[in-house]
Symmetry: C2
Subunit: 334 residues, 2 copies
Amino acid sequence: MTTINDVAKVSGVSIATVSRVIHNKGKVGDACRARVKKIIEELGYRPNNNASSLAGNTSNTIGVVTPSISMSFFGSLASGVEKGARENNLKLLMANSLYETESELRAIDSLRDNNCKAIILHSEYSDEKILIKLAGEIPGLVLINRFIPEIANRCVWLDNTSGSQIATKYLLDSGHKNFAVITSIYQNRDPSHRVDGIKSTLDKNGIKLLENNIEEASSNMDGGEQAVKALLAKGCKFDALLAYNDLMAIGAIHALFDAGLRVPEDVSVIGFDDLSIGIACRPRLTTMHYPIEEMAIYATNLAIKLSEPDAIPSKQTHLFIADLVIRDSVKDKS
Amino acid sequence: MTTINDVAKVSGVSIATVSRVIHNKGKVGDACRARVKKIIEELGYRPNNNASSLAGNTSNTIGVVTPSISMSFFGSLASGVEKGARENNLKLLMANSLYETESELRAIDSLRDNNCKAIILHSEYSDEKILIKLAGEIPGLVLINRFIPEIANRCVWLDNTSGSQIATKYLLDSGHKNFAVITSIYQNRDPSHRVDGIKSTLDKNGIKLLENNIEEASSNMDGGEQAVKALLAKGCKFDALLAYNDLMAIGAIHALFDAGLRVPEDVSVIGFDDLSIGIACRPRLTTMHYPIEEMAIYATNLAIKLSEPDAIPSKQTHLFIADLVIRDSVKDKS
DNA sequence: GTGAAAGCGCTAACAC
DNA sequence: GTGTTAGCGCTTTCAC
């Protein structure tokens, strides 16, 4: 393995000079710089990141922790962080948190051990106190998809409420009158915000969403099917169905179809997230676009900025808005 | 930041002893070991990975490079590597290669700079020579989804030919007679092997697959739609359609449906890969399961083994077999 | 059993 | 402009 010493020796300069030309800083004579560059090239020298991280007390890695990278949504998230990292010439360290607070914490620790410059954390299960403490300890920590007022500036999140308001409004505008909602059994954060958005919009338009028309289930395709079956079994009548997310929406479409109902002719269905799976079903799913990749890139840049020693604290939070993707699962009755 | 020195000082021993208790090796008195452990706990000490990598000339990271982590298939791959890494107490470094040889190489280099112990590489665009050279330089390099005879032992791959043979056989056994194939415009490796498997199986059963019944397109949903439209436009008649992958298969189902053909009543469709998207369409897709996550875990363990200094070279290659997942897109006419 | 000490490859003062 | 040098936090040989 060729080291900075080898380069220095061959080029007949000191390692300090080599270091200077590598990082393009400090003063180096033009001829000297050119020669060293050439030697580096010839020798195929590449700096050892571990050594420079150790010596410089920084690292060129950024970490991301998500529950499970194999899920489409988190794949997009990771992809965004990777892009951001690449643009900033950083390496990406990844850890799965596996949907529970204990392993989530372990994942974060493992990234810290590697001296990550910044960490993007999608935390679902750790409570706010822990996260606030963590944020205090790690300057480059940014939360994605979660808002905690005390560390507002470290949060990159989506306005779920306005998202579902837009969806509801769209259904209303296209002439729907009887609404049903299928949502997650875990009525915390996102699910509850989305339901709130629906209720408030309906309220404003003089429509009361009956509790009977809300069904909770797992937030996946199966859950969607089950929820719709339950709704139907209760004798619930509706011409518009708002699903917590795309997975549930697709399950819902299947259940509706199995029950002899046509989408969107009999029932309009709208999802949330805009996963690529939304164009695999028929009708293609109308949904709210969750700009997760864009948010992840943003979060990455933010985290890098915050990790710098001269970062200026701010009270600004970083809120994104979902927008409507119109496809074929909603009928225009207006 | 608390270092090994702090721990040593507080426990009144040398750093050598602390290092010994951390790694559970070498001889340390019981009382001493217990005390040091306690102090480590109390101080919340965590070893600095960069320092130990540097000093020990190894690292605790494993790298994975795939074209694009946001695609479902590669998400599963990465997920497998992550699992393998976690089981071995390693961190995962990730890099996207973006579908071209130049950035693929850059990605690999960036992982090497970090002293990765092992690297799992899904390479589509680099040629064999480069990969063979790379394998020579990096003991812990394992290729996934690619077979290169010269470095057979470093390849974890799938038997695409047998996979499509199984699929074809299934269609034959269920009474289909008229076959059509939609495949990728890039007829290298996987796509051509899969087509080969189909042709040979058909041949053996006295059926000739007409060139006219093979259509090439992009290997995604749109490509699947286009290919089927082209087939239909040519006046091609078929009751069984083999798609290069699930994405194309789903596109095909849509195109068939749009043309007024029912799946599977009029045409049976079979995919390949077993992406989760296969249950989002109706009928649910019958397909070949590509055990990519399992393969990735296997590859990770292999790479770790190979990276060890006393690794024994072997001529064994690591071949996996796809198996049939029967759902609803194939009709039993037998 | 335990400690001293020599690096690992690099960065960043500081000196010239 | 360029070189010297003191570490960064750790592993590992070698003494005792």
